[in-house]
């Protein structure tokens, strides 16, 4: 691990000032950053510990929606009664992520900014070629072992999966990220790799996530997060689906539908084609299954990950039908 200095920020302003130092990085829970520093991927000169700033960990839920401070712990949001009632998919995305210990450490801001688990990315000593780490160096994953790489949103430069669960639920329900004075939709916050895979977020130098805001909606209230993994718990998603459903007064017509996929794409993946195909139609297993296939429109498989293209739509269909009481 490269040598770094350690500074504690007393306030968000303090953090911004310290973060302006060249080579400085913000340290929240540290569960991504310290891990990557040990792997030799992150090489900060200075860590600015924002974990002791007070007032940035509040969770507020009211009729209009939820506002979650960037320093709120994953465990606190997962267990929050108001979140579980108004945004079950969001709470479930967190309670199914990582482990109890990691959820007690990791923050909501840090969670969004977690890096890919692409094993080539995480091992610079063995695999020097990685466009995300070192632009222009190539991609060791393409042609390698690609079981957990993405099938959606990939490019010739990078096929790394965005590993997080929370952002998948957030993108389904039109959440926004607050960067101090500026607010940006989660959907626009994450950038597909294109030919610049090193740039992952629409966050500028010196900017800090201060909060996440989620508007309330009937679909968010009737929502679920389904996650399929190689082992039952404490594992990243092989595929996940965040789905919200609002039915009309007849209890059968789909009035609103939100669908997003995780574990299969380079960014949290909103599936508007599925939503548009089903909104206004009757909730029927057959049409739901057919429309769910639109979730993977445009998917490109690598040598080892074609199963994701089958898995993801099944997950979407199961989530929609179970919310509708049909599965």
């Amino acid at each position: 691990m490269k040598a770094f200095t350690y500074q504690r920020a007393g306030s968000a302003e303090d953090a911004a000032r310290l973060a302006a130092h060249p080579g400085a990085m913000l340290l929240a829970g540290g569960t991504t950053l310290l891990d990557l520093a040990k792997c030799g991927v992150a090489e900060p000169d200075m860590l600015v510990d924002i974990g002791h700033i007070s007032g940035l960990d509040a969770i507020a839920v009211d009729a209009g929606g939820a506002t979650i401070g960037a320093l709120a712990k994953m465990s606190a949001v997962a267990d929050h009664a108001g979140m579980r009632a108004a945004f079950p998919a969001v709470a479930e995305s967190l309670s199914q992520a990582a482990s109890a210990q990691l959820r007690n450490m990791a923050t909501i801001g840090g969670n969004l900014l977690q890096r890919t688990r692409c094993p080539y990315f995480r091992d610079p000593a063995a695999f020097p070629a990685c466009n995300k780490r070192d632009p222009g160096s190539g991609c060791a994953a393409i042609g390698g072992v690609t079981r957990n790489h993405a099938v959606l949103g990939t490019s010739e430069a990078c096929i790394a999966t965005y590993p997080g669960d929370l952002a998948v639920a957030l993108v389904a329900f039109d959440a926004a990220v607050r960067l101090g004075g500026r607010t940006i939709a989660v959907e626009e916050f994450f950038l597909v790799p294109g030919d610049t895979p090193a740039r992952e977020h629409a966050i500028g130098p010196g900017e800090m996530i201060t909060a996440v805001a989620i508007p309330a909606s009937p679909a968010a209230r009737r929502s679920t997060f389904l996650k399929v993994r190689d082992r039952q718990s404490y594992e990243f998603a092989a595929a996940s689906a965040a789905v919200g459903l609002e039915l009309g007064p007849d209890g059968r017509t789909i009035r609103d539908l939100r669908v997003a996929l995780g574990g299969v794409a380079t960014v949290p993946w909103r599936c508007r084609a599925v939503e548009d195909a089903l909104k206004g139609t009757l909730l029927e297993p057959e049409s739901v299954r057919a429309a769910s296939r639109l979730a993977v429109e445009g998917a490109v498989a690598q040598a080892d990950n074609a199963h994701k293209i089958d898995l993801a739509p099944r997950l979407v269909a199961r989530a929609i039908l179970s919310l509708g009481g049909l599965a």
Binding site: M1, A3, Y6, G30, L34, S75, S99, A100, Q101, N104
Partner: protein, 158 residues
């Protein structure tokens, strides 16, 4: 070149002043600087739970926590769970009674995790115990006995 920093840690109710490289994790500070070797290093990457301690009463991984991050926050390790020579903590006793280990390497982490799991109210059924103890791996596969020990300790605590 590294500049060492001086920090004050509160470990098991004792104040410890350490001068160390800022890169030192809480796990290494405990084991290498303070001689508290009960907390184990398995993966050193957040993947196994062997290094579980409590910070501010919550279970966390000491391998992904810098010692400097923990300064000013009370830390409890397996050594602090019961007084030396005193009675075992009920979770420790339950692990002994149920033979909830084989080599014992994961055990301090399992016990620290279980104490917190019970306190959090996440030990209501075997299924819930399995899910909320999933962050602690056991290479020896003592899982059925671990679940039985946690269940018994949880029942006694309620």
């Amino acid at each position: 070149m590294t500049t060492e920093i001086t920090i004050e840690l509160d470990i098991n109710g004792r104040s410890e002043t350490l001068t160390l490289d800022p890169r030192v994790t809480l796990l290494d500070a405990l084991r290498e600087h303070l001689g508290l070797t009960g907390t184990k290093k398995g993966c050193d990457q957040g993947q196994c739970g062997a290094c579980t301690v409590h910070v501010d009463g919550a279970r966390v991984l000491s391998c992904l926590t810098l010692a400097a991050q923990a300064a000013g926050r009370p830390v409890t390790t397996i050594e602090g769970l019961s007084a030396p020579g005193g009675e075992l903590h009920p979770v420790q006793a339950a692990f002994l009674e149920h033979d909830a280990f084989q080599c014992g390497y994961c055990t301090p982490g399992q016990i620290m995790s279980a104490v917190a799991c019970i306190r959090e109210g996440h030990a209501g059924s075997d299924e819930e115990i399995r899910e909320y103890m999933a962050g602690n791996l056991c290479r020896c596969g003592a899982y059925p006995h671990i679940v039985a020990a946690v269940r018994q300790a949880a029942e006694m605590a309620s």
